[in-house]
C-alpha cells in the first residue's frame, strides 16, 4: 500500500455506457414517461430517489457527521412526526427510487457534449425500456433519509452549475460600456 491510488471511471460492463446518444435517449424516455405516469408516482419516485441518495451519502464520513448532528437535534423527531401525521411513508411505500444524482450528472454531461446536434438528428427513438434487475423490497422512506438526500442533491446541482461556469471562457468582472457624450443637459 502507498499514499496514492490510481483509479478509472468506466462504464458498467452490462450497460450501453454513457455516450451522448444513450444520455439523450435516457432523458427523452424520462420525459415521455411523464405522460403516462401520475403526479403522485413521480413525486413518490423522486422522494424515494432522494431517500436512497441520502442513505448512500450517510455512509461517507462527511454525510455521517451531518446525519449524526441532525439525529441529535429536534429536526429528526419533528420531521418524523410530520411524516407520520401526513402518512408519507405509507403512500411512498414500494415506490421505485429515481436515480436523481445520475440524472443531474447525465444531464450535465449532455450540456457539454460536442456531438449533441448530430446525436439529436441521428437518434430516432428513445432506448427501449429495460427490465430492472430484481432488487429486494425497497426500505421504507424515512424523513431523515430524504433530508440527507435533499442536501446532497442540492449540493450536486450547485457544484454542477459552478463547474459549468468554470468551464466557460473567462470573462472580466467589468464590462466596458459606451462613452457618455456630453449634451445640452450634461455640461
Amino acid at each position: 500500500m502507498a499514499n496514492s491510488a490510481h483509479i478509472r471511471l468506466i462504464d458498467p460492463p452490462e450497460d450501453a455506457g454513457r455516450t451522448t446518444a444513450s444520455l439523450f435517449s435516457s432523458l427523452a424516455s424520462r420525459l415521455i414517461a411523464l405522460h403516462y405516469t401520475s403526479g403522485v408516482s413521480v413525486i413518490g419516485s423522486t422522494l424515494a430517489g432522494l431517500a436512497e441518495a441520502g442513505r448512500e451519502i450517510s455512509k461517507t464520513a462527511e454525510g455521517a457527521r451531518i446525519r449524526r448532528a441532525l439525529e441529535a437535534s429536534a429536526v429528526k423527531d419533528n420531521g418524523e412526526l410530520l411524516w407520520s401525521a401526513l402518512r408519507v411513508t405509507g403512500w411512498t411505500e414500494g415506490m421505485p427510487a429515481a436515480p436523481v444524482l445520475d440524472h443531474i450528472r447525465n444531464d450535465l454531461a449532455l450540456l457539454l457534449a460536442d456531438d449533441l446536434a448530430e446525436t439529436i438528428d441521428n437518434v430516432p427513438a428513445p432506448l427501449e425500456n429495460k427490465v430492472h434487475r430484481s432488487k429486494t423490497v425497497p426500505p421504507a422512506i424515512t424523513f431523515i433519509d430524504t433530508l440527507m438526500g435533499l442536501w446532497i442533491h442540492s449540493r450536486e446541482i450547485v457544484q454542477s452549475v459552478e463547474a459549468l461556469a468554470r468551464s466557460a471562457p473567462e470573462r472580466d468582472d467589468i464590462e466596458p460600456g459606451d462613452a457618455v457624450h456630453s449634451g445640452p443637459i450634461l455640461r
Binding site: A2, N3, S4, D11, R18, I57, P96
Partner: protein, 195 residues
C-alpha cells in the same frame, strides 16, 4: 349485538356492519392495487447509464499520522467514459480494530471536478487527526460519490511520536564505530596497456 352504554351510541345493525366491512375492504383493495401498479412501474423504466470505479494500481492507500497531526495522500482519477463525469471524492468513516469509529475531517483539493473524456486529475487528500485521537489502525475506503461498484481501501495508522533515543552504551558505540569503518582492502591494480 354490541351496545356501548357509556357513549350512548345506537346499536349498529348487521347491514351497517357489513357496509363498514365492505368499505374497509375496498379501501384496502384500492391501496394495494395502487402499490402494485407503482411497483410494476418501477420494474420497467427508462435506462439511466451510470459510472463504475475501477482501481488500476496498488492495493489501496495507507497513511500514518500522530494525534493532532496531518497526513496527505493523492488519488489520481482518469475518466475513461465517452462523456464528461462529475467527480467528488469522499471517504467512509474509519473503523479501528477496537471498534472505534472515526468520522474523519478530510479535505480534498479540488473538492469536486468535472473531467472530460480521457482527462486525468490528481485529487490531494489531507487527513487531520484530533489531538485526543486514540491510537490504532483505522480502516475505511476512498470512494467517488455517485459511482457504484468501486472503492479504494484506506488504512490509517495513528501512533504517538516514537520516544527519543537514549544514549547508547560504550560497547554498543564501539561496535557501531567498527561497523561504520570497515577494514580497507588494497586497491586492485589495473593492468597496464602494452606499449
Amino acid at each position: 349485538m354490541p351496545h356501548d352504554h357509556d357513549h350512548g351510541s345506537t346499536p349498529s345493525s348487521p347491514f351497517e356492519e357489513l357496509m363498514k366491512l365492505q368499505s374497509a375492504f375496498q379501501q384496502s383493495l384500492s391501496q394495494a392495487t395502487m402499490q402494485y401498479l407503482r411497483q410494476l412501474q418501477g420494474i420497467v423504466g427508462p435506462v439511466t447509464p451510470g459510472t463504475v470505479v475501477q482501481q488500476v494500481e496498488g492495493t489501496g492507500v495507507t497513511l500514518k499520522l500522530r494525534p493532532g497531526g496531518q497526513a496527505k495522500a493523492l488519488v489520481n482519477v482518469e475518466n475513461r467514459q465517452r462523456v464528461h463525469s462529475m467527480v467528488t471524492p469522499m471517504i467512509t468513516p474509519l473503523v479501528s480494530d477496537t471498534g472505534a469509529t472515526w468520522f474523519a475531517q478530510t479535505a480534498f483539493t479540488p473538492p469536486t471536478a468535472l473531467l472530460a473524456t480521457d482527462e486525468v486529475l490528481d485529487f490531494a487528500l489531507v487527513l487531520e487527526a484530533p489531538k485526543d485521537m486514540p491510537v490504532g489502525v483505522y480502516r475505511g475506503a476512498v470512494l467517488i460519490y455517485g459511482c457504484s461498484d468501486g472503492v479504494v481501501p484506506l488504512e490509517v495508522t495513528v501512533a504517538k511520536q516514537a520516544a527519543k533515543r537514549k544514549a547508547a552504551p560504550a560497547a554498543a558505540k564501539a561496535k557501531t564505530a567498527a561497523k561504520k569503518a570497515p577494514a580497507r582492502k588494497p586497491a586492485a591494480r589495473k593492468p597496464t596497456k602494452a606499449s
